[in-house]
Amino acid sequence: MIEFLVAPFEFGFMQRALLGGVLVAAICALVGTYVVLRGLAFVGDALAHAAFPGVVIAYLLKGNIYLGAMLFALATALGVGVVSRHGRVSHDTAIGILFAGAFALGVLLMSTIQGYTVDLFGFLFGNILGISERDLWLVAFLGGVVVLTITVLYKELLLLSFDPTVAEAMGYPVQAFNHLLLGLIAVTIVISIQAVGIILVVALLVTPSATAYLLTQRFFQMMVLGVVLAALAAVIGLYLSYYLNVASGAAIVLVSTCLFFLTLAGRRLLSPVAFRS
């Protein structure tokens, strides 16, 4: 049994994958607490897709793909605000227009690359096994920025998420906080691309936090529990990926999905009446 658990991590790439996967999943769950409570899943998914052309352009120019992804995610977040304010369309519609457009641009640019697109597919579906030491440092640094921001602005972000109207009445800059939150989501997406890929990143953003939401009625507990569940999914997913030889990102996401449905079923069995509606 010990042998079974330890064997995969005799390889350097598996050690890096374990560290990277747990880090990324934990940061996703931290930010995911806000995503779940404020109903920002669609925004998160959109920002992830919008990052794709940034990745492709950086790849073509041999630049830093994280920087490219970040620029496009942030530009889209700003663009959504501009379009919904001046374009007479709802916020929701503006997101739909911009993220699909940006993603299409990424696909179009990718199709111009002769024959060699394996790396780019990796960004779409993730490949945590390919995470380099340099990537790890970047994940740790950006993750640190996210954790620090949330720690310092913990109570303000809580108030803003719970009751934006009263927060604004008290004089808090609600618009600036909304942008900050979008920025945190964008950063989180960027560091998750290597692990789970653009298409699946929204799962890490919402699923562990949603599972935690089912289990607790306290904000801080929800955050901690989300982080634990996300890390657990990352570890189990990695084992599955190693022993069954399946895609790591998809395995992590599916474990997370299973944990959610197990929790849902468990709650129904334990307290059919007091079930959270």
Partner: protein, 268 residues
């Protein structure tokens, strides 16, 4: 908790024109409220009561006018104003306890990047005590009844310890016992020097408990003590054609619109 005396007015509104494009929701409103007063804002639905509150709090833009709190622009002292919205549009399943919600009232005083200290917990518990929810401190906010939730949000305003309280229909949809408890609490605040402004449909309550009445119908119809303001012609202009007066014995009942029956006062 007693206010520093010396201000002539707590709140001054001058020539306020507010609301989105088209016909303004508020047109040329001017009034001034001295500190330590309890003011009822009355008027039909759509009269601009909520818009007035939101303009004062900076939640809705206004085209013209000036709003002063203690002789300085109100917008720069928003932490000094406590607000109880008509309908708290919050997610009732949000994972916070009643104590967490009340503590949020302390946030502006605690300041950026800092955690609540022992004093904040004392104030929070005292606020819960005053609305009789200390036993429910650890209850998740959505598990409270409607009246209890309203008291919890009122406790948040108390914890904020503002100079001016703006309460938008704090007793609508709340049981009679809670209504009395809330008004008793507001009177206590007023006696401690707070300025309390309440939008309400309960005209009977206004005449019994309030110092001043502000009659609003897009414009300021009248502003003064209830005894002076509660006249048929003023109420008629405030409520427009919706107003009907029904005589029942020696009492008059004002029917403000099709759905709301409100006892106004006993005619002598």
């Amino acid at each position: 908790m007693t206010e520093k005396k010396g201000w002539r007015y707590c709140l001054e509104v001058r020539d306020l024109v507010a609301g989105y494009t088209g016909t303004p929701a508020l047109d040329g409103i001017t009034f001034a409220i001295p500190p330590g007063q309890m003011v009822g804002v009355i008027g039909p639905n759509g009269a601009g009561k909520t818009t007035l509150f939101k303009a004062i709090l900076g939640l809705t833009p206004y085209q013209r006018g000036e709003i002063l709190l203690h002789e300085a622009p109100a917008l720069r002292q928003r932490a000094m104003m406590g607000y109880l919205p008509q309908l708290e549009e919050v997610n009732r399943d949000f994972p916070v306890s009643v104590a967490d919600v009340v503590m949020m009232g302390r946030y502006p005083r605690i300041g950026w990047g800092r955690r609540p200290g022992p004093e904040d917990f004392t104030v929070m518990r005292r606020a819960l005590e005053r609305v009789d929810l200390l036993d429910h401190a650890q209850t998740q906010i959505g598990k409270l009844s409607g009246g209890q939730q309203q008291r919890a949000f009122l406790a948040r305003v108390l914890a904020q310890d503002p100079h001016l309280l703006l309460l938008d229909e704090p007793v609508s949809g709340v049981d009679v016992t809670t209504q009395h408890a809330i008004f008793a609490l507001l009177e206590e605040l007023r006696n401690n020097g707070k300025t309390v402004v309440v939008a309400t449909h309960d005209l009977n309550c206004v005449i019994e408990r309030f110092d001043q009445v502000l009659c609003l119908n897009r414009q300021l119809v009248a502003y003064g003590p209830p005894r002076e303001v509660f006249r048929e012609d003023i109420l008629g202009r405030t409520y427009g054609h919706h107003l009907m007066i029904v005589r029942v014995g020696d009492r008059r009942i004002v029917v403000a619109d099709e759905h709301r029956h409100e006892t106004v006062k006993r005619e002598t």
